[in-house]
């Protein structure tokens, strides 16, 4: 794809930076072309900030997203906005008001005392149990609560390497913002009183990290299939490619579903399940990239440098890994980035059906699943905040991927 911006870049290069252009490496060229495309750069910044906020989610979120941080006094609570001024004057420090919920006035004793069905009828028709009555809250505008920065809160591990075998676990207890008394719920709370904003931030990283694991697995499975089939050719190639062709025609989501069902019958912990899903998504998605790699290797393996490596006594594996695959690196990187949104979509689809990750875990798919609930659709519209974040995240990935694809295409600036 050629765009006017890239075309302009091509002309500029001819006049001013001739030499540096012709001696620049592949990655430098891609980077130069990428930075010329405004939509890609903006999307890139959005993407990086969302992912960083997701990675340092405990720092950015004011409240513990697990059940420990749940606010029992403010279940199903509406978002609490913060202000800089109101009728009582302005303030440089943003503030929010005090929100309270009415305690449900359920007089069990009266029910028990009279014991009749009439009392029960009167109770249910009084509206105390209806969802909209449970959503009511009071704002005390007289009582301001000022937002504090770098407040002390629950302790969390900022960077945890203990899983990689290193004894490095940075713990901290400061958070970017909080309020003087009580909690601030920027995006409201859910049925259990968990903070929606904090949950969403934590979910972003869980979802992105699943995608990273899945893409790494995918890369290895495609390299294996494509590399072996392209390098050995002949009968191996024919068998592997007919297998790949068959995998390609089977719709993938039902296949993931079958594997997820098989996983759900196994007794796995949350972390194991999470990795298993990532591996399943990655391992079954080798068909497209594998075929491309194989075609590329088939054309490259007759080149002189491969012959030279063979004459030097390199083994087959060494030639594949050290000579053939590096010639394809930029394509692989770009393809991986372009596939990010699709992998995230696969994860959310699985979680949406209740077969991926499940409730106590925060993943975007789990949070999206709640959007199906009519109660949430009608009474707790703020729980659609994860949907918004999700759409922005995917859009950013798509824009970055598109700009990268244009940038990586060496023919895009011919004209």
């Amino acid at each position: 794809m050629i765009s006017s911006v890239l075309a302009r870049f091509g002309k500029k290069v001819e006049t001013s930076q001739d030499e540096s252009y012709y001696t620049a490496g592949q990655l430098a060229l891609i980077k130069a072309r990428f930075t010329r495309k405004a939509s890609g750069v903006i999307a890139g910044w959005v993407l990086v900030s969302i992912i960083l906020m997701g990675f340092f989610a405990p720092f950015f979120s004011p409240i513990d997203p697990t059940i420990r941080g749940a606010d029992a006094e403010y279940r199903r609570g509406a978002p609490q906005a913060f202000f800089f001024w109101d009728e009582q004057g302005a303030s440089l420090r943003p503030f929010t008001y005090t929100y309270t919920k009415d305690k449900p006035k359920i007089n069990l004793r009266a029910l028990l005392g009279s014991g009749g069905l009439d009392a029960l009828d009167a109770f249910t028709s009084s509206g105390a149990l209806s969802a909209s009555a449970q959503n009511k809250y009071n704002v005390d505008r007289g009582q301001r609560r000022y937002v504090q920065f770098f407040v002390k809160g629950w302790e969390y591990s900022l960077i945890d390497f203990s899983m990689a075998g290193l004894d490095l676990d940075l713990r901290w207890d400061r958070h970017l913002f909080g309020v003087e008394q009580g909690d601030i719920h920027l995006m409201g709370t859910d049925e259990d009183g968990k903070d929606v904003f904090s949950r969403t931030l934590h979910a972003v990283w869980v979802t992105v990290s699943i995608a990273i694991v899945a893409l790494i697995v995918k890369l290895f499975s495609s390299l294996l299939v494509g590399g072996v089939s392209g390098y050995f050719g002949g009968r191996v190639d024919a068998v592997l490619m007919s297998f790949t062709e068959a995998v390609r025609v089977i719709p993938s989501i039902p296949v993931y579903l079958a594997c997820a069902v098989a996983l759900s019958s196994m007794d796995l912990t949350a972390v194991q399940r999470y990795f298993a899903i990532a591996v399943v998504i990655g391992a079954l998605d080798f068909a497209t990239l594998g075929r491309r790699l194989r075609t590329h290797i088939l054309t490259e393996r007759n080149q002189d440098y491969v012959l030279a490596a063979q004459l030097c006594g390199s083994s087959g594996w060494r030639i594949i890994w050290r000579h053939l695959i590096p010639s394809f690196t930029s394509y692989i990187i770009v393809d991986t980035l372009i596939n990010f949104p699709y992998v995230i979509l696969a994860e959310t689809s699985l979680s949406f059906l209740g077969l991926g990750l499940t409730e106590p875990v925060n993943s975007l798919g789990v949070l999206l699943q709640k959007a199906q609930d009519p109660d949430i659709q009608q009474n707790m519209i703020w729980q659609f905040f994860p949907v918004l974040v999700f759409v922005i995240l995917i859009m950013a990935f798509v824009f970055v991927g598109d700009a990268l694809r244009d940038a990586a295409d060496p023919y895009s600036e011919k004209k």
């Binding site: 050629i2 025609v249 089977i250 579903l257 069902v261 999206l368």
Partner: protein, 393 residues
Amino acid sequence: MIADFFTNTWLLWILLSVAGLLFWRSRSSQYFHYVLNRYLLALMTLLIVSGIVFSLMEVLPGDCAEKYIAYKSTQGEMITQADIAAERSRMGLDRSLIVRWSSWITDLTLKGDLGFSCAKRQSVNIALGDRFWMSFGFCIAGLVFAYVIAVPFGILSAYMINKPWLDTNPQHNQKQRWINSIGLSFNKLLDLKLRIISYLGLALPNFLLALSIILLYVFAGEPVPTGLFSDQWSAEPWFGVNGFQYAKLTDFLSHIWLPIFVIGWAATALQLQTVRALVVDESNKLYVDAARARGVHGMSLWVGYPVRHSISPLFNSIGFDFQRVFNDLPIVAVVIGLTDSAALLIEALAMTNDQEMAAAILFLVALVVISMNFITDIVLAAVDPRVRKSVLG
């Protein structure tokens, strides 16, 4: 006796006679030689697909015998492990995977029998019935929707890609420039809007789209068009006492647009990008420059050269487009409450663990994709001289 033999093996005879016909024609024609090759390749791929699908179903927990016995135990019978083993050997489930697979594939090639569904307790062919055709119809309608929007607007988008917003051609007079500028800006805006919509289509998963449409209906206080018919019409027959019931048809159409629109949007978004990229790629080639140098210009240059050449790769991808659309259908079916084979597939996979049913549906989808690929391949080889040259030598 002979009639019996033929009704039990009808599919095999059809397959063999097609192969025989192609073989007979291929001795005198290079084209039919190619078709025969493709035909055999498609059958081979189908065989591998059936193997993959069948072994995939092994990972689903439980088997038919356990389910059947579990059903019996709810009827109040005492069950022992020996009963399960006996049931298993009666159903032939104690045989190895390869033996079971070959018996399944033999039944399939002989008489088109897709096996036995444990959960429904009837043959898969009967349980599936016309539900598969319903999903097929959805997918095709979604694809048609996608192509009808994506092809013209993708071409427009490719055409607008290097155009300026304003006409500054010094050869035009002031009035011409104004009129051209209005036209250009209008097209540019249309292109921009379409691109944003198509990016949204890629970013919004189908189930979210379906949910948001349902949500709009909820806010508006209107009945949500889930399912295929409203309650009033679902029990009525198509042909009532006064002939064909048009009211049922209108009711059907007022429900059917939702699944088609939902699955069509993502396909449209992807198609729009593909068409745009294909046309742009073609328009950068030398033959377009050559044509321009000969004096061909405007619409006739555009339609006669790059657009014409980018149609065949698009046509070639119909099979995989179908697969992509079907891929999204199960989740949409869950959200909208459809009862087609995609919903059945989800039910068989996630709830009842009905192995042969799920295998059959997946196999049928693969069958459709492979036959579409086969048809597009042979049609392209017959029609497009470039393809003919590359495959026939």
